[in-house]
């Protein structure tokens, strides 16, 4: 079978219409999880089947696609999804955040602020923020319809009672436009402030759980907290060891058996951009051959 044997962007037209209708309803009700008939994709659940279906429904031939996995463009998941759409949709691909029109992401928001016209597609494993507190779908659906989110505040309170602070560090629950509590997918809470008021359209796809939801541009997204325990967007208290960035989200990398470690930007494109601009961190080397 040749690549041309596939329909544009892999999915058939009937499926894309169904997904597109779900996306539009998601945009109309920000933060509400719209059920959709998720299809089997040529990759296992947990590898971004929801995000891939949303991306497939949104792509046009003129798009430039970027795919990141935990901030990195060069990991298995990102590389294979990028190749998938190169083959089935024939779109241009890039690793530069500024050049991309559609960005599919697993668990990060790029450091570079997004602009109008860009679409950020999140891969979501568990879309229901209340699921680990209440396993029954019938109950969580009722809680959303009645705007009954006391249980989530109890969970955050128990964090404080047990650990002295809100210990949730990723998939930190947010409230969208003062109505729906939403799981922002497992992004670090460092990224939560970027959800709010973004110029880009943000779409969320959960393949196994068959849900699509959306945060339109310039929409208020507030991280849940308490007056005496306000939300804090945390990160490792270090600078990037390669590019010296003080304000980016960091990965901790173990470098030897003697407890040695380094901290590097999780956003590889951001880190490379800074290195190319001449910034050097503690363990970095000059990339333009100058040093």
């Amino acid at each position: 079978m040749t690549d041309q044997a596939y329909n544009f962007a892999y999915l058939d037209e009937q499926t894309k219409r169904m997904i597109r209708r779900a996306i539009l309803k998601g945009i109309a009700v920000p933060g509400y999880q719209v059920p959709f008939a998720s299809r089997e994709m040529p990759m296992p659940y947990g590898w971004g089947t929801g995000g891939v279906q949303v991306t497939a429904a949104c792509l046009v031939p003129e798009d430039c696609l970027k795919v990141i996995d935990q901030g990195a463009d060069d990991t298995t998941n990102a590389v294979s999804i990028r190749k998938f759409f190169q083959r089935t949709a024939g779109v241009a691909v890039t690793e530069a955040t500024a050049d991309a029109s559609v960005i599919q992401t697993r668990h990060r928001i790029p450091e570079l602020p997004l602009r109008e016209g860009q679409i950020l597609v999140y891969q979501v494993p568990i879309p229901e923020p209340l699921r680990f507190l209440e396993p029954r779908e019938t109950e969580t659906r009722k809680m959303h319809s009645l705007e009954e989110y006391g249980l989530m505040h109890v969970k955050l309170y128990e964090d404080i009672a047990r650990h002295g602070q809100i210990a949730t560090s990723y998939a930190y629950p947010v409230k969208v436009e003062g109505r729906y509590v939403m799981d922002p997918s497992p992004i670090p809470k460092f990224d939560n402030p970027k959800l709010s008021g973004s110029a880009a359209l943000q779409l969320f796809g959960a393949g196994r759980e068959q849900r699509i939801y959306a945060v339109p541009p310039y929409t208020s997204v507030v991280s849940l907290d308490f007056e005496d325990h306000p939300f804090v967007a945390g990160k490792a208290p270090h600078d990037c060891d390669l590019c010296g960035a003080t304000d980016s989200y960091l990965d901790e990398v173990i470098v030897d058996d003697a407890g040695g470690r380094m901290f590097v930007c999780s956003d590889t494109d951001f880190c490379r951009g800074r290195k190319d601009a001449g910034h050097i961190g503690r363990l970095g080397v000059q990339t333009d051959g100058g040093a």
Binding site: R17, R20, L24, L59, S145
Partner: protein, 189 residues
């Protein structure tokens, strides 16, 4: 069947519907922004933009209601042939097409349920003209304020007051389309 029912569809459906959806999504996610679409030549009085939206979004699983003059044999045949959508009464419709006057009262349409607010109708309102001059729009998708030449404000305000329930609208004129989701607050200026 009327003779022009078989023509006027997409020539290259996967590509044209992708571009059309992108425009529709851009319009609905940024109320007040007017997008241009192409690809359909539906029979009058259906506008190009309304035809494109139906080709892109409607199919055998989405009942369509035709209001007023849009409920003509040629439009019925065109939608039946190109979309395969059942044509139904207002209360059962997922999509409805017509002029603002013919749509009245809009309380006839499904607004979703508290459990499933997505089960609400989408109205495709055919407009005599479509500009960004008009009532003031605020809400998700709008940076500061936006404007759109809406036929009135009271009905859209009442619809917004139902949030998270309520209908969502596309406004069409020729090949132009704008979006007005239920999340948008509409005020007179």
């Amino acid at each position: 069947m009327t003779p022009d029912a078989l023509t006027g569809g997409f020539a290259d459906a996967p590509i044209q519907s992708a571009r059309a959806f992108r425009a529709a999504m851009e319009a609905l996610s940024r109320p007040g922004k007017i997008e241009t679409v192409a690809g359909a030549q539906p029979p009058a009085p259906l506008s190009v933009a309304a035809g494109v939206l139906l080709l892109t979004l409607a199919d055998g699983t989405t009942p369509v209601h035709l209001a007023g003059a849009h409920d003509s044999p040629s439009v019925r045949d065109w939608i039946t042939f190109h979309c395969g959508a059942p044509l139904v009464a207002a209360a059962d419709a997922v999509f409805a097409v017509g002029t603002w006057g013919a749509m009245q009262p809009i309380t006839r349409f499904a607004i979703g349920t508290p459990d499933y607010p997505d089960r609400a109708a989408t109205l495709i309102i055919e407009m005599p003209d479509l500009t960004t001059q008009g009532p003031r729009l605020t809400g998700p998708g709008i940076c500061d304020v936006a404007g759109l030449s809406l036929p009135e404000t009271a009905a859209f305000r009442a619809n917004h007051a139902l949030f998270p329930l309520g209908i969502d609208c596309f406004l069409t004129c020729g090949d132009k389309v704008a979006g007005l989701p239920r999340s948008t607050l509409v005020e007179d200026i």
